[in-house]
Amino acid sequence: MAPANRVPDQRAFALLILSAAVTLVLHAPHLPLWLPMPAALLLLLCWAFRRRGRRFPVLARYVLVLALPLAVVASYGTIFGRLPGAALAVGLLTLKLTETETLRDARIVIATSAFVLMSALLFGQSLLQTALVCVALWPLLTAAMSLEPAAGPTRALMHGSALRLMLALPVALVAFVLIPRLASPLWGAPGMQVAKTGVSARMTPGAIGQLLIDDQPAFRVGFQGPIPARPLRYFRAVVLWHFDGRSWTPGHAALPLERLIIRDRPSRYTVTLDATRQTLLPALDIPVDTAPGTFSTAARTLLAMRPIDHTLRYTLESATDYTLSPQLVPDERTLALQLPVGADPRARALAAQWRARYGGNSRAIVASALRMFRNGGFRYTLVPPPLGRQQVDDFLFRTRAGFCEHYASAFVFLMRAAGVPARVVAGYQGGYANRTAGYLLVRQSDAHAWAEVWIPGDGWVRVDPTAAVSPDRISLGATAAAQTADAPWFLSGWWIGFRNRIDVVNRLWNQAVVGFDALRQRALLTQFGLDPSRWQSVALALGGALGMALAVGLALALREPGKRGDALATGFQRLERRLTRARCARRPGEAPVAYLRRAASSLPSPAATTLMALAGRFAQLRYGGTQPPPPLAVRDWVRKAKDFRP
């Protein structure tokens, strides 16, 4: 161990800067805008000062140290929490480099870098992010190794640190499987996933426009049977009863669970839902039962007990041929006919016309509304023009352009105005069926809203007015339906196809690693006869596994060098064979180096020089010293000998 006040050399310092820079890059996406560029500049400055052998100005450092927390507070209003914490940590790491003088400082920088690097995982644990963090450990470990007194050449260090990281993988895997897990990830605390949205329990036509071009995966569904056809893939998440003229909300009335009569065998499937921070659980129309830990609303949508702050898996059964609520209870009827007072007179007038023409024939009223959407000059677009105060009127008689929300909202409004009980259902529709991996991937862009009307004798019947306007929305999906000449590149076909293929890997990662929670750990460990609730048994297994890894590592390290494959000898033999083919065989009893030199003397000049150099180097490696030669030098010689042509 070198004295702690020794000064790290130029190279060690450069490696430290590099590790800090990599950490900065990994954090950059979620740092406040003012931080990354100045931090990078500061790193560059540290490096420049160090190169000239000068110290960073003390005053400037103090000013920066004071400024950092103030700036963080100015950005976030606090220094606590994930985002301010990350900004503070990255900033402090950068500042630490300005005062790194001794070996001890350098070690602190390395430890801090490692911590800050790890904290990048708080912002996402996708395969890509995890892999990036792992790769970022490489320069960090190289820097740590370069601090050792007898550090070799940089190439050897990088090689060594890569090897060490590789060797650490099995140990990490064992720890991953065995170390007891909390019921939910530690960082699943409030503040997580704030930016992520999904279908929410409030619908303001136009508001999910952003969602429709967000192609983040929302959830994945693995079906035990075949994946249902696309037009049947309606996933209900929330039923919206109440309309205030602008927004649809679920309403607050307590209704009895609607009766369900099913006519086909329910299909069984498992949903893997990414964190939403909401309690809504999408379920295929129409779930016949609930999953453990979930409950059903009256309109047969499922809710979780708590907001979903980490990836959740649940298994359900759904029927596609069904009758929902053949009898309508009075409370429900009231809710299903509710309309905001005085809003949208033109739409009301139109509905009154239909009512007058068809009387109590609900089916005819539905049909005439759909006919109007089909033939009335309506078009489907993800970028609709803004609507005025009389939202439904404005949409129906002026803009005539919108997407599912607009159609569902206007349709339900018309139905109610015509005296037909109706409600809006929000959820997802479609999805990408990955036939090879056998699952359905539903993205945020598959978010959808449709309507259910109550028809005497048939109960609640699903009506999708969007399908009337744009049949492609149902048969191809939202992005395909909205595709026009001015579609942005990320909505183009090949990109979507590519994304869908990549998703297979992400799903595996999510299922095997991110979704490996306490429950699944218990299931796995019990299979091996381990009781995860008894810490002794887990400690024993963990200790055993780590001890085994240690023993294997020791055995590898202590392996007698002579017994290892002698690369130098093999390399020499290859060279000898080559020279023998070139009519320069080794004489009986001739020593290797003497032989190479003799062979060189019979060769033309460039080859002779090379061979002489090889001979000299071989002598040093094989005979120079009583210790085994450095592997890197041996590899270098073998490579050169391989390249040699007599």
Partner: protein
Amino acid sequence: MPEATLARNDATQQRLVHALAQVNQLLLGKTHAVRLSFACLLAGGHLLLEDIPGVGKTTLAHALARACGLAFQRVQFTSDLTPTDIIGVGIYERELGHFRFHPGPLFTELLLADEINRGTPKVQSALLEAMAEGQVSTEGETRPLSPVFTVIATQNPLDMAGTHPLPDSQLDRFLMRLSLGYPDAAAERALLSGVDRREMLRDLTIHLTPADLVELRRRARTVDASTAVLDYVQSLLSASRAHPQIRVGLSPRAGLALLAAARAWAMLAGRSYVMPEDVQAVFPAVAAHRIQIQHGANGETLAAKLLAEVSVRA
């Protein structure tokens, strides 16, 4: 044989180079033998020169002593030579009133034992004992010899009448056995036309001191011998023990001697590590007189055979 490159970074080493060059000037065309004799000296061994008279054995011994700045004594072995003749004798000195030891020629730094096989076994063993022990015991007193005490013995292989050949066990005391042989035509011509060797000997510059020699010997012992070289030495030893024409193969002591000589040889080449080439260079000189051969065979030829038969693994 790779042309030796000598390290030039060190004054002692530099003087060694000069000494070597000077002896080479005196003994024309005998570079290999001269180098071997230097290696023998550096390895701290004794040298047996076996050759016909008149090829320069005595000159070599003289030149070595002179070039290395060693005190030199010569003893001509005859059948009437007694141990006290070489060790010395205590003589009563009347003025002092007690015996005073008068050291014999043994108390020198380099001793030339000329025609050692003409001496009686008694005197031979007295000398060999001194060579082995580095000290002599006489009249109840042990007297140490010089730390660089070295013997160069000569013997005439042809003139066998009235000689006492050294027993095999005693031959082992000599690190190397060398033959100088006739000089080649060019060297002989230069010899004939040149200055008298005796005069040249007198004019030789002294390059090294006994202290230098002690230091060089210490360094020679620290020359690295890698496992590859040790493996090679070992395979040579075991091959000598298995060879059909060899009665008794090389002893472990012979192996140590071989390694010591190879180390000195490597140092002379300016290297800090031994290569199999070094072992091969000294092998005939070190091994030929130590293997006991079947009747009709020749040690040198067998040593060469062994070198050709034992392959050097890379």
